[in-house]
């Protein structure tokens, strides 16, 4: 510890000056300049990819109109009869098991005691807690409002499951067997490969249909081939899908003309799924 030599002849006053920089001063100086440099680097955005990433993330989150399209779903709870067709069609199309459904139906009641059915896909929030917490960016926002998964990046930490306020995310707890899917072929055919063990998955708004449809010149929400399976199959037309950025789209007109609600708006997640409330629920 005591490394510096002290010559006995030196006067006390001189001795104080022998060390130009004490360790404490040096450390303080180093930390001070380090912090200053770090802040300067952080604030000068052209230099810093991190800041740029932050700004980009911010802009995609804020912009509803960032992309050309913003896909939304409208679910009419006053029409829903709770038949589970959308649940089964989703299971067949996205090849999920009964305990890993991407789209679920539950029963609830209004404060006047009227029972109603509510189905819940992923809500594709503009401020999605799952996206914010994912340590590797395996789940992210697309410009068209979709919250999607990169199964190749996911490390399976399940923080997104913990953070999602709606419980939409399911984890592949074990290797998927080659067993046939009981919903096939009555409710549709699998259109996406089964996911590997150890990653999280969730509803994609049938992203494969949307993307392929657009390249074919089809419009999601209008052409069934480009529309999510759950929307197509609904026997009472309780589900609508489309581009909220297009004022003439089906969904934009419904949202403009009908009172709708979104789930847990108090959390500020800004979901892309709008519900038309049942009778007796404002």
């Amino acid at each position: 510890m005591s490394d510096h030599q002290q010559s006995p002849e030196q006067q006390p006053e001189v001795q104080e000056r022998t060390t130009i920089l004490t360790r404490r001063e040096f450390t303080t100086l180093l930390i001070g300049s380090g912090v200053t440099l770090a802040m300067a680097a952080f604030l000068s955005e052209p230099v810093n990819p991190v800041v740029q990433r932050l700004l980009e993330a911010q802009s995609t989150q804020e912009a509803h109109g960032a992309g050309k399209h913003h896909w939304v779903m409208v679910i009419d709870l006053s029409k829903c009869v709770g038949c589970d067709y959308c649940v089964y069609a989703c299971q067949a199309t996205n090849d999920t098991t009964d305990d890993m459904r991407w789209n679920i139906r539950i029963d609830d009641e209004t404060d006047t005691g009227e029972v109603f059915h509510i189905t819940r896909p992923c809500l594709h929030c503009a401020h999605a807690p799952c996206v914010e917490v994912c340590p590797v960016g395996a789940t992210y926002h697309r410009d068209d409002g979709l919250v999607v998964m990169d199964y190749d990046k996911c490390i399976g930490c399940r923080y997104c499951q913990t953070a999602c306020p709606y419980g939409v995310r399911v984890f592949n707890w074990q290797e998927r067997s080659d067993d046939p899917n009981p919903r096939v072929p009555n409710w549709g055919r699998p259109e996406v490969p089964r996911r590997p063990r150890g990653v999280v998955e969730k509803c994609t708004f049938c992203i494969h249909r949307i993307d392929a449809g657009l390249t074919r010149g089809q419009m999601p929400g209008v052409d069934p081939e480009a529309t999510p399976a759950c929307v197509n199959i609904c026997p009472v037309h309780a589900r609508h899908f489309g581009d909220i950025n297009d004022p003439n789209s089906n969904v934009a007109r419904i949202i403009a003309s009908t009172p709708t609600l979104r789930l847990r708006e108090d959390l500020g997640t800004d979901p892309s799924v709008y519900y038309i409330p049942p009778e007796g629920l404002a």
Binding site: I106, D108, A138, F171
Partner: protein, 426 residues
């Protein structure tokens, strides 16, 4: 037969039994771990409703209990408490054991252990978990840097000139390493609390005080574990591992940390449950109290036995000068910390999410209790920690100021001086 041989003969089987016990624990852990790796996390009791469980508790606890490293290093190198150097090395070693235990637990817990390095290359700077991963990786490097001089000094490596000067130079930059260590520790220890504290959808968790509570409990619990292990080693080896005034100093530090933790804990509780009310949180706490021992373990485990009693023990000289009571006090701090991590992790998942606009409770309360295989892995991790510490005390110079107790010396005939050295520290 000399007295020395007698004591050695009596001690050796005990040591052997202890090591065999730990190796058995390690075996249980290995078998359980392989079972999980082969068959997936489906073999655990985790579910989509309770995706985190015992292993996360092990992970959080071992990182918090490793906090003695940064606390005591900071005391030595930043706050000029040079006498704490007598325990700082052991703290660094225990810290590294804590962090490596956490990494093992995490590797078991993630669905794709083969992608453990992904956070390092795919950055999501907005994620607290990303920040934690980066800090833990960097801080483990700091711990290794702090440990290298000790290893060089304790082994024949010191005869190598290059390594010797490397160790010496590393020792010289320790203040800088300690600054880096403290910064990184403050960041990730608090972010571990933020992992829960930032989740708006879980009213039982959502709280700005969670990060600070995590760090304060770690500042109490980390040194508590190091002090407990040090006293235990002294008891077994019949040595005074660190000077008495250092024992008292560390105890006081733990005591003040307990008080700070207690202050924020009570204030945090009062502000959220007494002075204000949020219907959702109120309902959540009600559900927890009806279905789990949450309230009981909170007040008795976390507050009374985990903070109040140890604070009294650590700050009352008459109590802390009694080794048995002091050891009990450190154990209480450790237990309180683990109970806090357990309660924190499980409570948020137990209360079901309610996103439906109707008035019904849409989901039942979630129950989780660890599966046998989860306990197996946990036993393996704990055994690893104990085994590594036991071997560390035996083969590394963790306690530079350790000296034999005079009482022990009196038992040995004069011809047998110097003292028998059961720990092969030379």
């Amino acid at each position: 037969m000399t007295a020395r041989q007698l004591t050695d003969n009596r001690r050796l089987p005990l040591f052997l039994i202890w090591i065999l016990l730990l190796v058995a624990g390690l075996g249980i852990g290995t078998v359980s771990g392989i079972h999980v790796l082969l068959n997936g996390l489906g073999v655990t009791n985790l579910s989509n409703q309770s995706p985190w469980g015992l292993w996360i508790v092990v992970d959080l606890s071992s990182i918090a209990l490793g906090a003695g490293a940064f606390t005591l290093s900071a005391a030595v190198y930043l706050f000029g408490l040079k006498r704490f150097e007598a325990i700082a090395r052991a703290a660094v070693f225990v810290g590294l054991l804590g962090y490596s235990s956490a990494m093992i637990a995490l590797a078991m817990d993630i669905g794709r252990p083969d992608r453990f390095y992904h956070p390092l290359i795919y950055w999501n700077v907005h994620s607290v978990l990303w920040e934690i991963t980066m800090c833990v990786v960097l801080y483990s490097t700091v711990l290794v840097l702090e440990l290298v001089p000790i290893i060089i000094e304790s082994t024949p490596l010191k005869k190598n000139r290059f390594l010797h000067s490397l160790g010496h130079n590393l020792h010289r930059i320790m203040p800088l390493v300690a600054v880096a260590g403290m910064g990184l520790s403050l960041l990730h220890q608090s972010s571990l609390g933020a992992t829960y504290g930032i989740l708006t959808a879980r009213p039982v968790w959502y709280s700005p005080s969670a990060p600070v509570l995590f760090i304060l409990s770690a500042v109490a619990g980390g040194p508590a574990l190091t002090l407990f292990l040090t006293l235990l080693a002294g008891l077994v080896l019949r040595k005074e591992m660190i000077p008495r005034d250092v024992v008292a100093g560390v105890a006081k530090l733990i005591g003040f940390a307990c008080l700070a933790y207690l202050y924020l804990k009570l204030w945090s509780w009062a502000s959220q449950n007494y002075y204000s009310r949020l219907p959702e949180r109120e309902l959540g706490i009600q559900l927890l109290n009806l279905n789990t021992p949450y309230g009981f373990t909170f007040w008795w485990g976390e507050v009374l036995l985990g903070a109040i009693v140890p604070a009294i023990i650590m700050l009352w000289p008459r109590l802390r000068n009694n080794r048995a009571i002091l050891m009990l006090g450190t154990l209480l701090v450790i237990a309180g910390l683990v109970i806090y991590r357990w309660n924190m992790t499980l409570s948020g998942f137990t209360v079901p999410l309610n996103w439906s606009p109707g008035v019904r409770e849409i989901a039942a309360i979630n129950t989780y209790s660890p599966a046998l295989v989860e306990w197996g892995v946990a036993i393996g991790i704990v055994s690893y920690g104990w085994l590594a510490y036991t071997l560390g005390v035996r083969f590394l110079k963790l306690y530079p100021e350790a000296r034999a107790l005079r009482r022990d010396a009196a038992e040995v005939p004069p011809s047998e001086q110097p003292q028998p050295q059961p720990a092969g520290t030379d």
